[in-house]
């Protein structure tokens, strides 16, 4: 029997959907066992009927509903609620859906600050743009912004979390095949460090972290990853210790580290409720590293600013 799948993207970038397509030929295998009934990126099913004349937003019924993106406006709420109503299982796909993702960095500001900046940039024609709001903000036939950027489970119940920005195509494939065959889904629950083959000798006399402004030492051009010293031990901020592992997919090696670049935490916290900023700062402090050597710390929550982790009032306190 085929499984019906509906998919939606909310406050998202399409990267999660492209990661689905990046399953490549395996996507064709999935299509043998799954019927896609709704997927705006690839299919023409409409909210208000195919003639655009219905008054209520409607999405077809499905066994599995996949949702990427966070929730930022009134339409996202409506679509998420309709998906919940019509789908037996809801998968939160990607770190925007599971934790707010990069767009939740906007939670450090209130909407007015965000709108004020966007509608008054150097290239914006401000003079000729005053409307009834007196500020020139668009307001007609577009969904109202919520007060903040929310993770999906702050608005609807989520059954399965697939973090990652985006999740690796291998994970998406395993999740979909597990669902179709009724098997239990096993996802890695370790940290990025647990999957990282770099050499660790202890931090030595490291006291301060450096910004990533120069190349780390990694030997000859093609030297394998297990010959490179851990980037954190080389003195670069690396979020591996506080980030959910698995970004390398079946190949295992963490993606950024393989590119000789430190981890920034795109798989979200190791435990769903974890706080990447707090956990990272704690880890640094307990290793005697001066956290004032970091230029700022909001960025440590760049992937997980939903769930009230980032709030406007933070900016009024002194940033460490």
């Amino acid at each position: 029997m085929k499984v019906n799948v509906a998919s939606e993207w909310l406050n998202s970038c399409s990267g999660c959907e492209i990661s689905i397509i990046d399953m490549g030929e395996r996507l064709l295998d999935v299509l043998q066992v799954a019927d896609i009934v709704h997927l705006p990126a690839l299919m023409d099913s409409k909210y208000f009927g195919q003639m655009g004349d219905k008054s209520h937003l409607s999405i077809p019924k499905a066994d599995v509903g996949i949702i990427s993106g966070s929730i930022r406006n009134q339409e996202h709420v409506e679509v998420a609620e309709e998906m919940r109503k019509k789908c037996n299982i809801i998968i939160a796909l990607g770190t925007c859906a599971t934790h707010g993702g990069i767009p939740s960095l906007s939670n450090s500001y209130d909407n007015e600050e965000t709108l004020d900046r966007y509608y008054s940039t150097e290239s914006t024609d401000v003079e000729n743009n005053k409307n009834d709001t007196g500020k020139g903000y668009p307001a007609k036939d577009i969904p109202k912004l919520l007060d903040a950027c929310y993770a999906l489970d702050e608005k609807i119940k989520v059954d399965i979390y697939l973090p990652g920005c985006p999740p690796h195509p291998d994970h998406i494939f395993h999740a979909l095949t597990a669902l179709v065959s009724g098997k239990e889904l096993k996802l890695p629950e370790k940290s990025v460090c647990d999957t990282c083959p770099t050499i660790r000798k202890g931090k030595g006399d490291l006291k301060k972290l450096r910004r990533f402004l120069e190349a780390p030492l990694y030997g000859a051009a093609g030297e394998s990853l297990d010959k490179m010293r851990c980037l954190l031990e080389q003195g670069f901020l690396c979020m591996g210790p506080v980030t959910r592992g698995g970004c390398g997919g079946d190949a295992k090696d963490p993606r950024c580290i393989s590119a000789r670049v430190p981890c920034r935490g795109c798989y979200g916290p190791v435990r769903h409720e974890g706080n990447q900023r707090l956990d990272m700062l704690n880890a640094l402090v307990s290793n005697g590293i001066d956290i004032n050597s970091l230029p700022e710390s909001t960025s440590l929550l760049r992937f997980s600013g939903g769930h009230g982790m980032l709030r406007p009032k933070f900016k009024k306190k002194k940033e460490i």
Binding site: G15, L42, S45, Y118, D125, D141, R255, E296, T298
Partner: protein, 449 residues
């Protein structure tokens, strides 16, 4: 007032938008427009962040073309910190960007747009998609999936993370290219070039001739164009000067850093996204179909219209054939698809050229940078149009101000006009069906927003 038609969401496009068509009492179009539904506020929330982190933050603007944001951002940070990337770092960035273009165009043509032509604009919506193509023409579909995957995996394997890349860094690139990798990628790019030529032929035989009438009527408007050219006036995707052309072919050229002298953005009440227009034409902004003001277009058709020539031989031959059929500048909106395939050929040829340049395997890929106060404007041609990132930093190299003009937004005015034109010419006296509404969306899809 008559009925309101609400096409929501616009599907098989990259972004989030809807079309509203207001009919009058006789069932004719009173007003038609495109609403851009979301706003994420990158311009605000990057403030205070270390500039070198921006290329890994702003790439999340778009998961289809993250390399474009990643590289425009790297260029802008280079500017702020006053650093010039090493020659190999520069070339590796361009290589990634060019291959990403090649991948993106296959994705758009076959996965998003082709169903309208291969399955047909009036066909049932349930099969009018890439899955329908897989069922109708499994051989072609499996070839497409294989080739697109090959391009994508070149990027993934070498850069290690291609959706939301991290390998571009201020000062250059994070890792060098090995000789055996170069040979492997070169071989694959030659196969993709062959496929690009196959696609070009397929489209010229099976697609464009069948839809000539639609091409010459659907969503047709008259506008200016913008794109990047090199010193010889040839199209360049990665670097060069911007050429802003009026409908009569006269043009101005400028360095990307001076963009605010030439371009401005209008706030439109029904769209979170702002609508850019040509400020330097001094005629204001109007989307009037008969007499538009300040309206220019970006993306494939725009680039091949502003360019005097293509820098590679096969693409040049295709451009000549295109011009002999449609002239210069070509205004028909559906020709964006044709132009996209010409650029596909160029992107493959250009990637091969870069791979044949010995500097590409030089291990000196990254110059050390020092954070400092400055300003930098980074510009690349994204698949969807000219992309501009403009940052300023303080003495610690933290962002004090950022302004972005994203490729798609240049076309917001033109997309609205094309939708208006299509709706007015297709909906008459209350007569329309699902196929009609899909054709109106086709006018949007051509722009690949």
């Amino acid at each position: 007032m008559g009925k309101m038609i609400n096409i929501q969401p616009i599907t098989r496009i990259e972004g989030h938008a809807s079309i509203g068509i207001q009919l009058d009492d006789d069932g004719n179009v009173a007003d038609a427009r495109v609403n851009v539904m979301s706003l994420r506020g990158f311009e605000k929330f990057v403030e205070g962040k270390p500039a070198e982190e921006l290329p890994r933050i702003v790439n999340r603007i778009c998961g289809i073309c993250p390399w474009m944001h990643h590289l425009a951002s790297n260029k802008a940070v280079d500017g702020c910190f006053g650093v010039v990337p090493t020659p190999a770092g520069h070339k590796l960035r361009e290589l990634m960007q060019t291959i990403s273009h090649a991948e993106d165009k296959l994705l758009h043509f076959f996965f998003l747009a082709a169903a309208d032509f291969v399955i047909g604009p009036d066909s049932d919506y349930a099969v009018r998609n890439v899955i329908g193509i897989v069922k109708a023409n499994p051989e072609l579909a499996s070839k497409v999936v294989k080739m697109r995957q090959m391009a994508k995996m070149i990027l993934d394997k070498f850069s290690k993370k291609t959706i939301h890349p991290v390998a571009g860094v201020p000062g250059g690139f994070a890792k060098p290219l090995l000789e055996e990798e170069r040979v492997d990628i070169l071989d694959k790019m030659r196969q993709i070039l062959d496929f690009a030529m196959f696609t070009m032929d397929f489209a010229k035989k099976e697609v464009f001739p069948k839809y000539l009438e639609t091409i010459q009527s659907l969503g047709v408007i008259k506008t200016g164009f913008i794109g990047t050219v090199d010193d010889e006036g040839a199209l360049n995707l990665y670097d060069g000067k911007l050429r802003l052309m009026k409908p009569d072919m006269t043009y101005e050229e400028f360095a990307p850093a001076n963009y605010t002298d030439y371009l401005a953005e209008k706030i439109i009440d029904h769209s979170y996204g702002k609508f850019p227009y040509a400020k330097s034409w001094n005629e204001g902004f109007s989307m009037d179909l008969e007499n538009p003001k300040g309206i220019y277009r970006a993306n494939t058709l725009a680039r091949i219209n502003v360019a005097d020539k293509m820098a590679t031989p096969k693409a040049q031959a295709e451009l000549e054939e295109f011009r002999s059929l449609f002239g210069r500048p070509a205004q028909a909106t559906l020709l964006y698809h044709y132009a996209r395939l010409i650029e596909e050929v160029y992107a493959c040829e250009r990637a091969i050229e870069i791979l044949e340049d010995p500097v590409i395997t030089d291990p000196d890929v990254r110059a050390k940078v020092e954070p400092k106060a400055g300003r930098g404007v980074g510009c690349v041609e994204a698949p969807r149009g000219t992309l501009i990132h403009d940052y300023s930093t303080d003495e610690n190299g933290l962002i004090t101000r950022a302004n972005l003009i994203v490729g798609t937004t240049h076309n917001l005015g033109p997309i609205n006009m094309s939708v208006n034109q299509a709706a007015r010419s297709l909906i008459k006296n209350g007569t329309y069906d699902e196929g009609t509404l899909n054709k109106i969306e086709m006018a949007v899809r051509a722009y690949d927003p």
